[in-house]
């Protein structure tokens, strides 16, 4: 990032800069399991997160700003996720989509499942559900965009991802799982 992460930008510049960043989130979908289907459903015509400025056509992790981990992460797969995350350029954001990538979900007692993607990479937004509805992903994206709008890049780089957003944490019943 060069100078950006060392110098605090003036407020008007920061506002425009963050406004530009939050509406051009090139998204790399790490589709692992069932949740990937709901991710695709969120990208197609009915839910259409492209209208929120999330572009799901990143050619690879090197061109992406946002990583959406959707599905069960197994111990065999974990190194690949870690590596793809490290290939992404800063500043990068991670949405953990679905119970499996949040905490292991229905496979909490399985011998081969990683209990949460946050064990290997830092997560910005947790979206609960098994699988979450496409609307829940939209909610997660908007929560992430609010954070991007209000953040200072300097602070973020200095103090990265110590306080993730957990959707519905303050109102536990507001966002139930879809099934």
């Amino acid at each position: 990032m060069g100078l950006m992460d060392q110098v605090e930008l003036p407020q008007p510049v920061k506002y425009v800069f963050n406004w530009g960043r939050k509406y051009s989130l090139w998204c790399f979908n790490f589709g692992l399991a069932c949740c990937a289907i709901e991710f695709i459903a969120a990208s197609t015509s009915r839910h259409d997160f492209i209208r929120h400025g999330v572009i799901p056509f990143a050619h690879g992790p090197r061109q992406a700003d946002l990583l959406v981990v959707s599905g069960t992460l197994t111990d065999k797969m974990a190194p690949a996720v870690k590596r793809l995350y490290e290939e992404m350029p800063e500043p990068k954001y991670v949405i953990s989509f679905g119970s499996c990538s949040n905490c292991g979900g229905p496979y909490w007692d399985s011998y081969s499942v990683t209990k949460g993607v946050d064990q290997i990479i830092p997560v910005d937004v947790y979206v609960p559900g098994c699988p979450p509805r496409p609307e829940a992903l939209l909610d997660g994206i908007i929560a992430l965009q609010d954070r991007i709008q209000n953040e200072s890049l300097k602070d973020r780089m200095a103090d990265r991802r110590k306080d993730p957003i957990t959707l519905g944490a303050d109102a536990p019943l507001a966002l139930g799982s879809s099934s």
Binding site: C34, R46, C130
Partner: protein
């Protein structure tokens, strides 16, 4: 022989439109280098985390080795720690595109062991749901296979229909992908009021939109060019590896357990089984697309048959299957799904062995890819329809 010599033997076209007279060079003349390419585990064409290692000679595949296990979640072991009602919520997740058909298999197995009588209405509703689920599954592959061959639009078309059907199923079951609608002895709850009317409407809508796929994808010249004659599979090879579903039907074998070994009420209705001729990628896709149409025909017949009555039987507080074992096979959207359920009389299964269709279908991959060109390998990979969770369990 140097590269220059090779170039000289390729004669340029004399005029535009006139075919270029290219003398193809064989292995002996043109030096190629062996290369090992690993497709996956994170590759868009594998729709999931399937990995296949290709040994290439130039652009030609010498050997293809599927590497499975990136999505192994230990279903068979986990099922031993859930009781007979809870495993429904577990098994509908291994093939995440056909949740209802999976839980149906386990429900049938448990009922068979407990010798339960399932009410007629429950059986017809199960068939209705299973056929809707089959269409959901096939639409996903219609979209994703076209996407792998470079066409984005069919995906949006497919999800237009999928959203309608998911909305319909959600009104009855409460789930969009994982329904958990079965329980031993029947269904959780009856259909909501007006469901059948809406189901008829959705069935008509999907039927009127179906020609879009036939014209847009199947009739597309580029699609035909990339799939016709690519990856032909003879029936004996398909049978020897245990391939089922569209992969087997494309080779001309009309095997479908809804017809050959009917369960539920499939014996009382007409089930048409589409078959292909050459077993190539085009035929596999053709069978898949036609199975949507036959499923719609079945749904229309079910609408006419739907009886009234209860949808479940009273269950004891603790569902315990008697000691013994049973095997149930059902026609999942991608092929035959078998559950071997063994019980020691306790409240959890002693062993639940799965025979999943995707795992067997993927076994055809080394045969199909041998000698294919690398771009054709993607066409083959997409045409052997599989769900990674169904391979690895």
């Amino acid at each position: 022989m140097s590269d220059l010599d090779t170039k000289e033997r390729i004669q340029p076209a004399t005029a535009p439109g006139e075919g270029i007279a290219v003398q193809f060079v064989g292995d002996a003349d043109f030096p190629t280098q062996d290369m090992s390419v690993s497709i996956g585990p994170a590759h868009p064409a594998t729709h999931g985390v399937f990995r296949i290692v290709l040994e290439l000679d130039g652009e030609r595949v010498k050997q293809a080795t599927p590497v499975v296990g990136y999505m192994h979640r230990g279903f068979e072991k986990l099922a031993e720690h859930r009781d007979f009602r809870q495993i429904m919520a577990l098994v509908n997740r291994h093939d995440w595109l056909s949740g209802f058909s999976n839980e149906l298999g386990v429900a049938l197995a448990v009922e068979q062991m407990m010798e339960m009588e399932v009410p007629d209405r429950a059986q017809w509703i199960r068939m209705l749901m299973a056929e809707w689920n089959r269409i959901l599954n096939h639409l996903m592959f219609v979209g994703s296979y076209a996407l792998e061959l470079g066409a984005i639009t069919p995906m949006f078309y497919a999800f237009r229909e999928r959203d309608d059907i998911q909305h319909l199923l959600e009104s009855a079951t409460g789930g969009r992908l994982h329904f958990t609608y079965n329980q031993p002895g029947g269904l959780k709850i009856d259909l909501p009021k007006g469901f059948l009317k809406e189901s008829v409407q959705v069935s008509q809508t999907v039927r009127t939109r179906l020609p879009d796929y036939f014209d847009l994808v199947l009739g597309n010249e580029i699609f035909q060019g990339r799939t016709k004659g690519v990856g032909p599979l003879p029936p004996d090879v398909a049978l020897s590896v245990g391939a089922t579903g569209p992969t087997l039907q494309a080779t001309g074998v009309a095997e479908d357990s809804r017809v050959t070994e009917p369960y539920l009420k499939y014996g009382e209705i007409d089930v048409e089984v589409p078959v292909g001729e050459n077993g190539d990628s085009f035929d596999r896709f053709y069978c898949l697309l036609h199975r949507i149409r036959t499923s719609l025909d079945i749904i229309d017949q079910i609408h006419d048959h739907m009886p009234a009555g209860p949808v479940n039987t009273k269950l004891p507080k603790m569902v315990k299957a008697p000691e013994g074992a049973t095997y149930v096979r059902t026609e999942n959207p991608l092929g035959q799904l078998g559950y071997w359920l063994e019980s020691d009389g306790g409240r959890t299964p002693w062993r639940l062995k799965m025979r999943t269709p995707s795992f067997s279908n993927v076994q055809t991959m080394p045969y199909l890819m041998e000698g294919a060109l690398l771009p054709d390998a993607i066409s083959i990979l997409g045409s052997v329809f599989f769900v990674v969770g169904d391979i690895d369990r």
